[in-house]
């Protein structure tokens, strides 16, 4: 299982990476592996705001459709439009090309609620 040491993780298998004060959000390698072939990603619109834990996207695979939750609250600054035509990127590069949204983080202290890479690794192992 791949893991991004710089990201923070939720128990719902979202990751968030803080770059220049903004958050980049996606789903983890473990999540894409559980979903199997992703066929569709439904994203929010730029300007939408969500609280921590709100559903902001849906990832649909041949096996399941899974809601994606905001790891921290904030406003959507950009969505990854490439996923509309190439949802398979979620399987190929979950921590890179398949980022879902870029957000303005409303309250940085919410990041403290999340796991670091090591803790997430242990969390995933505890599931298996």
């Amino acid at each position: 299982m791949k893991i991004d040491p710089k990201a923070k993780y939720s128990e719902e298998h979202e990751w968030i990476r803080v770059e220049d004060g903004e958050g980049i959000v996606g789903i983890t390698d473990y999540a894409q592996d559980q979903l199997s072939d992703v066929v569709y990603v439904e994203l929010p619109e730029v300007g939408d705001t969500f609280e921590q834990g709100d559903i902001f996207a849906t990832v649909e695979s041949v096996k399941a459709a899974s809601d994606v939750y905001m790891p921290v609250g904030g406003e959507i600054l950009e969505i990854n439009e490439e996923l509309e035509d190439s949802p398979e990127l979620v399987n190929q590069d979950p921590f890179g090309a398949a980022w879902l949204v870029r957000i303005a983080i409303a309250d940085a202290t919410e990041l403290d609620d999340l796991m670091d890479a090591e803790a997430y690794q242990a969390f995933v192992e505890s599931l298996e």
Binding site: Y40, E42, E45, T58, E60, K63, A64, A65, D67
Partner: protein, 452 residues
């Protein structure tokens, strides 16, 4: 022989689980007097006697096979070629229930795929689903789809008063409790300009019918642009027979096209089962409702058919489905597909032309009668509105009682300002002599009813 599989032990276990002693306890809330009312039923009859009674009952029906009918208003009597019944009566189609393991029923899927393809060609849209219950429910699903495309942020729905009154009622039933603002039809005379004036940033969709409920062909050029300018969707309710002659709604910018498919291949059937046509643009397909059959290739590269996007309604995404309808009118859709295939492109056009010309011949003759006036200001297709010299119900009683003719629809039922106005429909099954008989009968009705 009892068909109830539960043993006494099963029943005792179930009763214990829910905490009652006897089955009768479950009816505790029903007042005792109403629990097991005595039914006043006649003595049983033999099969032969029953058949005679049912036969006598059915012969009291005034069916369109024996009486010329000028009644339309959403349900139309067209000729159904014999091939339709021949094909749909095959047991593979006729007795099969909805395929829960769909891909094993390749023939069923192919027939639905062909139906969908024909609807796309007819409406000028990119995607058509496997159908809904009827034109009214398709219209309601179009509203729900428009709300979903707007992600629930737009709450205004503009409904033309010239959309079938029952369709408008079903839209309201389907969407009750959703906090919508349904406007437009509170003024029964509102025209397109009045409706366009209601467009705002909160509008999810504008719904028009073409030809409208009064049979008129609406001039929808430029309407889609106005609707799209505020980010709303244009929903067009269309009569598929009219599309043999008229421009497909997809060509003038409709986002969703719905309609009643009964007219093609399906009988009047006492009001149902009918066929809800539903078509939309590819980019919105994931927000659409209902089943969708897709064509694909199997592992060996051979053509095959699958239920596409079925996850949405029936399986893993059920709790977030865009609609609670996960069935379709497969047999009715098949009848429509067979009828369309039998007609072919030119046949459908000829059918539409016959309706158009016969309706116009009838309108011309009726308009020339004293006391009657055709009031349509716009061009019309196969239906038109006639102002009558007496209440429509009285005229219809006279037509049926004295001439054996089924008259038109009483528009006063739905539109207060159209009291004494009759909506007449003429299709290809009405020969000229029957139109002439209607004209004579109407003339006589005017004289007789005025004398009374």
């Amino acid at each position: 022989m009892s068909y109830i599989p539960h043993t006494d032990a099963d029943k005792a276990e179930m009763l214990a689980a829910i905490g009652v002693e006897r089955i009768e306890d479950l009816f505790h809330d029903v007042p005792a007097d109403y629990r097991f009312p005595k039914l006043e039923l006649p003595e049983p009859l033999s099969e032969m006697e029953i058949m005679a009674e049912l036969q006598a009952l059915s012969e009291e029906n005034l069916d369109v096979g024996h009486f010329p009918s000028f009644l339309g208003a959403g349900a139309y009597h067209h000729y159904i070629p014999r091939i339709v019944d021949q094909v749909i009566s095959r047991s593979e189609f006729y007795t099969a229930y909805t395929p829960y393991q769909p891909e094993i029923s390749q023939g069923t899927l192919q027939s639905i795929f062909e139906y969908q393809s024909m609807i796309c060609a007819l409406t000028g849209m990119e995607v058509a689903n496997a159908s809904h219950y009827d034109g009214a429910t398709s219209t309601a699903e179009a509203v729900i789809m428009a709300l979903n495309v707007a992600r629930g942020r737009r709450k205004r729905v503009i409904l033309s008063p010239a959309v079938h009154p029952e369709y408008r009622a079903v839209v309201r039933t389907y969407t009750q409790g959703m906090g919508l603002e349904i406007v437009g039809d509170e003024d029964p005379t509102a025209d397109l300009d009045d409706l366009l004036a209601l467009l705002d940033k909160n509008t999810a969709c504008l719904i028009v019918q073409n030809p409208n409920f009064f049979g008129e062909i609406e001039d929808l050029r430029g309407v889609a642009d106005r609707v799209h300018a505020v980010g709303a969707m244009l929903v067009v309710v269309a009569d598929p027979v009219s599309l043999g002659l008229l421009k497909p709604p997809g060509e003038y910018g409709a986002d969703i096209v719905v309609g009643e498919g009964q007219a093609l291949g399906n009988g009047l059937n006492f009001g149902g089962p009918y066929l809800g046509i539903f078509a939309c643009r590819q980019k919105h397909v994931r927000k659409s409702a209902g089943r969708l059959v897709g064509q694909t290739v199997d592992a060996e590269g051979k053509r095959g058919f699958v239920l596409t996007l079925s996850t949405r309604e029936q399986h893993i995404r059920r709790e977030r489905a865009t609609s609670n309808i996960c069935t379709n009118e497969a047999l009715c859709a098949l009848a429509t597909a067979v009828h369309l295939a039998a007609l072919g492109k030119r046949g459908l056009r000829t059918l539409a032309e016959l309706c158009y010309h016969k309706a116009h011949y009838a309108a011309g003759r009726i308009d020339a009668l004293e006391g009657y006036q055709v009031v349509n200001k716009k061009p019309f297709f196969k239906e038109f509105v006639v102002r009558c010299p007496a209440p429509v119900r009285e005229i219809n009683d006279f037509l049926l009682g004295e001439w054996g003719i089924i008259g038109g629809y009483d528009l006063g039922r739905d539109y207060a300002h159209l009291e004494n106005h009759m909506l007449l429909c003429v299709t290809e099954v009405i020969p000229r002599r029957e139109i002439d008989a209607l004209v004579d009968a109407l003339a006589e009705a005017a004289t007789v009813l005025r004398a009374e």
